[in-house]
Amino acid sequence: MTDRLTLAVVTAGLSEDSTTTRLGEAIAQAASTTVENAGQHVDIQVIQLRDLAHGLTDMMITHVASRAVQDAIDTVLTADGLIAASPTYKASYSGLFKQFFDVIDESALENLPTVVAATGGSPRHSLVLDTAMRPLLSYLKALVLPLGIYAASEDWGHNDLQRRIDRVGASLGTMLLAGSQGSAGSTDGASHGDAARPGLRREVKDDFSDVPDFASLLASVGS
C-alpha cells in the first residue's frame, strides 16, 4: 500500500525570486528524490507567508482566520514533514515568519519531522538556526532534525550548497519514509494526523473531542 505523503514548505522569503524560498524548495526536492527512490511519492506544498501577511496581522487582532490563512494552517497540520525557511533579519528569523507560528495551535507541530533553513547576507549569522529557529520549533514540539541549512549570499556560488541540501533532504526523506511505514498498516479512512509513526504519534487535536463531561468538571472544583 502506498501512502501519499505531503511535505509543507513554509517560507518567509519576500522578494519575487527569493533565495529563502529557493532554499526551502531545494530541500523539498532533495527529500522528494529520496522518497521517490524508495518507490513512493511526496506532494510538496509551498506556503508563501508573503501572500498571507495581511491575513496573519488581521488574525492577530481579531482571531478570525481568512480562508487562505486557514488553508495554510491546515496544510501544515496535516503534513508529514515541514521545512521552515526564513531570511535572517536583525540576528533572528523575520517577524513575518514568527507571526505564522504565533497563530498556530500549541500542539499543531507535535512530532512533525522538521528541517530549519535560513538565508542571510553574511555567514556570520549562521547560528540563527540554533539560537532562534530551533528554540521556536522545539517549543512547538516539532521533531527538528539535527541538520539544518544556513545559506549566506556567497554560498549560492558554490557547489557545496547543493551537497548540503542533498544531505539534509536525504535525512528528511528518510524520516518521511519511516513515518509512512509506520502507518502503512492502517487502512481505515481515519484523519491523516492519526497516522501512527514508529514510536511516536501525531494527533491533530479537536477542541470538541475531549470535552470533560460536566459531572467531572463539577467534581474537579469540589462542588
Partner: protein, 392 residues
C-alpha cells in the same frame, strides 16, 4: 422568536467628528436606546457588565435594568454578559432576584467569563481559573435560587452555613439563564447539563466556530434529556449597519468600522463582512443574512444585534433602530416563526417558566432517569459493581 439588541457600553470617539461623549452622555444614551428598543417593537434589550474604561456598561447590570424596568412596559431586560467569574454568586442571586421583582419577571441573564485579563485580579481571581470559576460559581448560584437554606464550601469564596439568598426569586422561579462563550466547549456543555440556554456572540468569529459550538450544545442538551437536538434554546448575536442602498451603508459605517474597539485597524470592512456575520448594507440584505443564520444554527430562539458601538452618535443609532423596527424585525419575526416547527419552543419567559415549574417540568441538572446521561451513569455504576464483585 425574540429579537432585540445588546450593548457593551463603549465610550468611543466618533471618528468622523473627533468628539468623544462624556460618560454621562453615554449612560443616558444607553437608557434612550433601551427605551427606543421597546418603542420600535423589539423584544429584548441586553446590557454588558464592565469594570474598565473605555466602557460604561454597569459594573452591576441590575442597576441599569431596574431603572429600565421603571421606564418600560414590555421589553425583556437581559445581560450580555454577567461576569460569573469575578462577581460573587451570592450578589448575582440577590441582585437579579430583586430586579426580577421590580420588573415583574421581565429579566434574564447571560453568563460569561470575561476575557479582559486585568479584571480578574481586581476581584481576587485568576483568569487561568476561568472555567473552574464559571463551573463552581454557577453551581452555587443555581442552588441559591432554588434552595431555601444553603450550606456550601468551595474553592473560590467563603463558605456558607444555612444561608438564604434574599429576596427569593419571583414566584419561586429564577430568571432564565443563558451561558455565553465564543470558543470554550465547556460552556455549552454546562448550559446543556442544566437545561439552560446557550448564547453565541457570533460577532468576532467565522460562522464555522458558531456552528460547532451550537451543534455541540444541541447534542449535549439532548444527551442530558432536556429535549431533542432541535429543541435546545439557542441565542445568537449579530452586527448590522443599514442604509437604503448598500453603498451608502458602507460609506457611512466604514470610518466607524476602521476605528472600532476590538477589531478596528485590522481587516477591511469587506473581509470582515465576508468572514463574520457583520452585515453592512440594505435592510433587505440584513434580512437575508440574518435568516441564513438558521442554516448553521438551526431554529433558534433569540437574535440580538449590536448597533450602538464604535462611536456611532446617538442620532444614528436611533435611526438604525427605526429601520430595524420598521423594515427588518417584523419580517424576521414572521419568517423565523413560519420556519420554526411546532415542537421547537419559543425563548422562555417568566410566564412560560412559571407554567413549567407548576407542571413539575423543570429541567433536572445532569438529566432525569429517562435521559441517555442517566442510562450511561447506571451502566457505569453496574460495571463498577461487577468489577468490585469480581475482585472479591
Amino acid at each position: 422568536m425574540q429579537l432585540g439588541i445588546f450593548t457593551i457600553g463603549d465610550v468611543t470617539q466618533d471618528p468622523t467628528t473627533g468628539r468623544t461623549p462624556t460618560e454621562n452622555e453615554r449612560i443616558k444614551a444607553t437608557v434612550a436606546i433601551a427605551r427606543k428598543a421597546e418603542e420600535v417593537g423589539m423584544d429584548v434589550f441586553a446590557t454588558g457588565q464592565h469594570h474598565n474604561p473605555p466602557f460604561v456598561a454597569p459594573a452591576n447590570p441590575p442597576i441599569l435594568m431596574a431603572h429600565l424596568a421603571a421606564q418600560t412596559e414590555k421589553i425583556q431586560l437581559g445581560t450580555a454578559t454577567t461576569l460569573i467569574t469575578t462577581t460573587d454568586p451570592v450578589r448575582i442571586a440577590e441582585d437579579y432576584s430583586y430586579v426580577q421583582h421590580l420588573a415583574d419577571g421581565r429579566v434574564d441573564l447571560t453568563l460569561g467569563r470575561g476575557n479582559t485579563g486585568p479584571v480578574y485580579p481586581w476581584f481576587g481571581k485568576d483568569i487561568r481559573q476561568g472555567i473552574p470559576l464559571a463551573v463552581e460559581n454557577y453551581q452555587l448560584l443555581y442552588r441559591l435560587w432554588r434552595e431555601q437554606s444553603v450550606n456550601y464550601s468551595g474553592r473560590f469564596r467563603t463558605p456558607l452555613q444555612g444561608f438564604t439568598a434574599t429576596p427569593r426569586p419571583l414566584d419561586d422561579v429564577p430568571p432564565f439563564v443563558w451561558h455565553g462563550s465564543i470558543r470554550s466547549p465547556e460552556i455549552p456543555e454546562q448550559a446543556a447539563f442544566y437545561g439552560d440556554g446557550f448564547f453565541h456572540n457570533n460577532i468576532f468569529w467565522n460562522k464555522e466556530h458558531t456552528e460547532r459550538m451550537v451543534d455541540f450544545y444541541r447534542q449535549r442538551y439532548e444527551y442530558y434529556g432536556h429535549g431533542s437536538y432541535d429543541q435546545a434554546i439557542v441565542g445568537l448575536g449579530g452586527q448590522v449597519f443599514m442604509a437604503k442602498n448598500s453603498q451608502d451603508a458602507r460609506r457611512t459605517f466604514r470610518p466607524y468600522f476602521d476605528n472600532a474597539p476590538v477589531y478596528g485597524h485590522g481587516p477591511s470592512l469587506e473581509d470582515f463582512t465576508e468572514q463574520t456575520p457583520l452585515t453592512v448594507g440594505s435592510p433587505q440584505q440584513v434580512i437575508e443574512r440574518t435568516l441564513s443564520f438558521r442554516e448553521y444554527a438551526g431554529d433558534y430562539q433569540r437574535q440580538l444585534f449590536l448597533v450602538d458601538h464604535a462611536g456611532l452618535p446617538l442620532k444614528t443609532v436611533l435611526e438604525q433602530m427605526d429601520i430595524l423596527g420598521e423594515e427588518v424585525i417584523p419580517v424576521l419575526r414572521k419568517e423565523f416563526d413560519a420556519a420554526r416547527p411546532a415542537h421547537v419552543p419559543e425563548a422562555p419567559t417568566h410566564e412560560s417558566l412559571v407554567a413549567r415549574h407548576a407542571a413539575g417540568k423543570d429541567p433536572i441538572p445532569g438529566g432525569g432517569p429517562d435521559s441517555q446521561a442517566a442510562k450511561d451513569r447506571a451502566q457505569q455504576a453496574e460495571a463498577a459493581q461487577r468489577d468490585h464483585e469480581n475482585a472479591k
